[in-house]
Subunit: 128 residues, 2 copies
DNA sequence: ATACATGTTTACGTTTACGTAAACGATAAC
DNA sequence: GTTATCGTTTACGTAAACGTAAACATGTAT
């Protein structure tokens, strides 16, 4: 039996609001089943939400995340489609590597600045 | 002699519009000197712009970047301030490390998915 | 049976991060 | 000397990503 989740279970678990989750549905990126009028989320929906939120943290827009998610869910193509898919995935991979470069630069900047601060603090201490 | 830049020199170099740069001024994050009414950007202003744009690529809002930039430009404090600063920098550093984790997760997901696609492609080839 | 928690839709509002358009100033080129 | 070129301010517009409020449905608890 596949587990399923209500909207509030998901919103609580991931620290977002129900409104946010419904918004994702309204833009066609996270579309759950229904039981009557209530939304029922599968574990695959849960993974999708994880991808969306991770994407946000990494500075991807919702439409960019949608693009990637659509790629993931389009695995069962024939040869031509598969090749295209692999290429697109590779592009996205390169984007991520660029981001990691940026991130490492930012970390290095921060570390060196922080070191400068600690140095200055030491000087102040020894001046006492 | 310190180099200086016009607004268009910077916007061209970094691939943004003059409007964007003026907007950063309007929110108090990138404030150049003036020659008459024209904006003159120093190399320190240039660095600030770099920080802002890198921050954007990493998913920081302008106000978050402003926070960090304000930290950087507040190095000349006395002991208490310095300690506070070092702590804040450390917080930001942890945020960046979290992001790097996210990034590595995303990369791993992508790689394994891409491998699955290549595998499937191979199977199709050999079925011919 | 009714209160309450949880869900729904619909319409409108809000913040962030800019873009557009108009009207104008200053300097350089012909 | 006027015509580009580059800049300026001011007011208004816009897309993305939600939030707010109202009015209503539905299942559970007492």
């Amino acid at each position: 039996m596949e587990p399923s989740y209500s909207i509030s279970e998901l919103s609580n678990e991931f620290g977002v609001t129900n409104i946010t989750i419904r918004y994702y549905e309204s833009i066609g990126i996270l579309i759950p089943k229904r039981y009557g009028q209530k939304r029922i989320y599968s574990s695959s929906d849960r993974v999708t939400l994880e991808l969306i939120l991770r994407g946000k943290r990494l500075g991807f827009s919702l439409s960019e995340s949608k693009e990637i998610i659509d790629l993931y869910s389009a695995s069962q193509g024939e040869e031509g489609q598969l090749k295209l898919l692999i290429n697109k995935l590779n592009d996205k991979r390169l984007e991520l590597l660029e981001k990691r470069k940026d991130l490492n630069t930012a970390l290095a900047t921060m570390d060196s600045y922080s070191a400068k601060c600690r140095q200055r603090l030491k000087e102040l201490e020894s001046d006492k």
